[in-house]
């Protein structure tokens, strides 16, 4: 009766396309990255084994530390901006009395579905020192605060770049938090209501602690997005001015595809993964170790 499920031919037909595609495109290059990080490799020949040579060079490279710093700035701003605003927005919109809540939700989410190129080009035009929206606004308000947003060597440029990403995906974090908060059963709030707690107290004591799992996901998402940032630099600054907006992924692609140092690029990729794994492990360890149950 049940033997129709034990059918090797059908199983192969069902399983092989996915497994073969995945092995060729994901698993094989992954192993290749790991191996080649120990090689001096130009992407054409087999390369020469140099042990930890790429890594020791990387740890002496100033650019690595600039990139690392920028990754963390990116991650920090994303986290503060998106989780902070996202929480306030999600919880306010959750309140049935808020006027126009569905309109607001849709409006906050729209930038999420746009392509990163459109968003970056749009912000490039807004940041334009002569004709951009921001400087025009300051002019209109009579404030003489004109800025060349993306050309400063200090942290201003990386912050300006990060704001673009923060603006684009705030709605995404909000949607995550909103979905999480909506699934909290009503009865958790009844006792609080009887005790006369304010909305603010209720959220601080009940909603936010119950959302620990959701916050963990949001946090991992923000930090990984920050550490892996690439498209914004590629489109808006090309890592510049100078090397002040480099990130690890940007450095990796430049090493491989501009300088033909494929092995060095692989070493950067390996460092990047280890970093993301480490952060994810730390977050998993410290947040939501035990599920809260009331």
């Amino acid at each position: 009766m049940r033997n129709f499920k034990n059918n090797p031919v059908a199983t192969s037909i069902f399983v092989l396309p996915a497994v073969l595609t995945f092995s060729m495109i994901v698993a094989y290059p992954l192993i290749s990255t790991l191996l080649k990080s120990f090689y001096e490799w130009d992407g054409i020949t087999a390369g020469t084994f140099i042990g930890f040579g790429n890594f020791s060079r990387l740890f002496k490279d100033d650019l690595f530390y600039t990139s690392l710093r920028n990754g963390f700035i990116f991650a920090l701003i994303l986290t503060v901006f998106q989780l902070g605003l996202g929480t306030v927005m999600a919880l306010t919109i959750l309140n049935g009395k808020t006027f126009g809540r569905n309109t607001l939700r849709r409006a906050y989410f729209i930038p999420v579905v746009l392509s990163v190129t459109v968003v970056c080009q749009l912000w490039l035009s807004m940041y334009n020192p002569e004709y951009g929206l921001f400087n025009k606004l300051f002019e209109l308000l009579g404030i003489s605060y004109r800025q060349d947003w993306l050309s400063s060597m200090s942290v201003t440029s990386i912050i300006a770049v990060t704001m673009v990403s923060s603006w684009q995906s705030m709605g995404y974090q909000m949607a995550l938090i909103y979905a999480g908060a909506k699934s909290i059963p009503e009865h958790f709030y009844e006792a609080a209501k009887i005790d006369g707690a304010t909305t603010f107290q209720t959220h601080m004591k009940i909603t936010i602690p119950l959302l620990a799992e959701t916050y963990k996901i949001c946090l991992i998402f923000c930090i990984n997005a920050g550490l892996n940032a690439f498209a914004h630099m590629q489109i808006m600054t090309k890592g510049g001015p100078g090397t002040s907006t480099y990130t690890l992924t940007y450095m990796m692609t430049r090493s491989a595809f501009r300088l033909d140092e494929y092995g060095y690029g692989c070493a950067i990729a390996v460092t990047l993964v280890l970093q993301c794994l480490l952060v994810t492990l730390i977050i998993n360890k410290f947040i939501a170790r035990e599920r809260l149950t009331y």
Binding site: M1, R2, F4, K5, N7, A10, I13, V15, P17, A18, T21, F22, I25, V26, A27, L30, S32, K36, L85, V88, T92, K97, T98, T103, L104, Y108, I110, V113, L114, S115, V116, T117, V118, Q121, L122, L124, E130, L133, K136, L137, L140, W167, Y172, A175, L176, A179, T198, C218, F221, A231, I235, T249, M252, A256, F257, Y262, G265, C266, A269, L272
Partner: protein, 278 residues
């Protein structure tokens, strides 16, 4: 106390609507400047509604610059990717959830590893591989990786769905003389339709907007998709903002329409995606 609560809620309300403007005004600004000429954008009317609607900018974006071709490329790549993503992951998930074979658990876990691997980690060897097997700069150079990258997530979603379907349905179909392929095609597939919608939306958004792979793997103009294609005219156009804006508006329309029509389903598909990856 009551007054305090009220003024606080007014404060919150105005904050929400201010952010509403921050969220949407840049897009409105884009729409406006796509209908203006440089003179108007730069000097006479940078912020407001266009004085003359210069639809000619859109004609220019379509006729002189390759926007139509990038659009076509994006469409071909997205549709082909989605077809293969759905086919491969539905078949795999069905076999993993319902058939009996050795190494089932191990194979399933192996495929799910994909959830934890960021694209950029494998970018370098992938680019070399694509060059070596001679499909760099073709549609397949994007379709094959997009399929591979979306398999893990889609299989996970479908697996969950297949597991909830009662075994009796398959068994009675088998008793009626259906073979395994017919059971899969005619009985199981219709039952997982909601999951197909979720996966399709998720895959469509991620493929349509994908940037790093498209940038590295496609260098010739003829095969560029919208995200990289748009990039190539910012240089040509740095002097002419109107047509550039028009091109950006045109390329964003499908996603915005999709979101406005499907709304909650889009949000759900995207948030399920990250909840899984976290």
């Amino acid at each position: 106390m009551k007054i305090l609560g009220k003024s606080r809620s007014v404060l919150f309300q105005s904050f929400l609507w201010i952010y509403f403007l921050i969220s949407l005004y840049p897009l409105v600004y884009l729409l406006f400047f796509s209908l203006k000429n440089n003179d108007e954008i730069f000097y006479t009317n940078p912020l407001g509604f266009p004085m003359h609607l210069r639809f000619h900018n859109y004609v220019q974006a379509i006729t002189q610059f390759d926007i139509a071709r990038y659009f076509k490329n994006s469409l071909i790549v997205s549709v082909a990717s989605i077809v293969f993503i759905l086919a491969f992951s539905l078949m795999f998930a069905y076999a993993a959830a319902r058939l009996e074979w050795r190494l089932k658990g191990a194979t399933y876990s192996y495929l799910l590893l994909g959830l934890f691997i960021p694209t950029q980690v494998i970018l370098i060897p992938l680019a070399v591989l694509m060059r070596d097997i001679g499909i760099a700069n073709s549609y397949s150079a994007l379709i094959v990786p997009y399929v591979a990258f979306n398999l893990s997530f889609s299989s996970l979603i479908f697996y969950g769905f297949f597991r909830t379907i009662p075994v009796e349905i398959e068994e009675s179909a088998y008793m009626d003389g259906a073979n395994i392929y017919r059971i899969f095609m005619q009985i199981m597939l219709p039952l997982v339709k909601p999951a197909v919608a979720t996966v399709t939306i998720f895959a469509f958004l991620s493929v349509w907007n994908e940037f790093p792979l498209a940038l590295i793997l496609i260098t010739d103009q003829a095969h560029k998709t919208l995200p990289t294609g748009l990039l190539s005219f910012s240089g040509q156009f740095s002097t002419e903002w109107g047509p550039m804006g028009a091109a950006m508006v045109l390329s964003s329309i499908p996603m915005i329409v999709l979101y406005l029509v499907l709304g909650d389903q889009v949000e759900k598909a995207l948030t399920v995606g990250s909840a899984v990856k976290g």
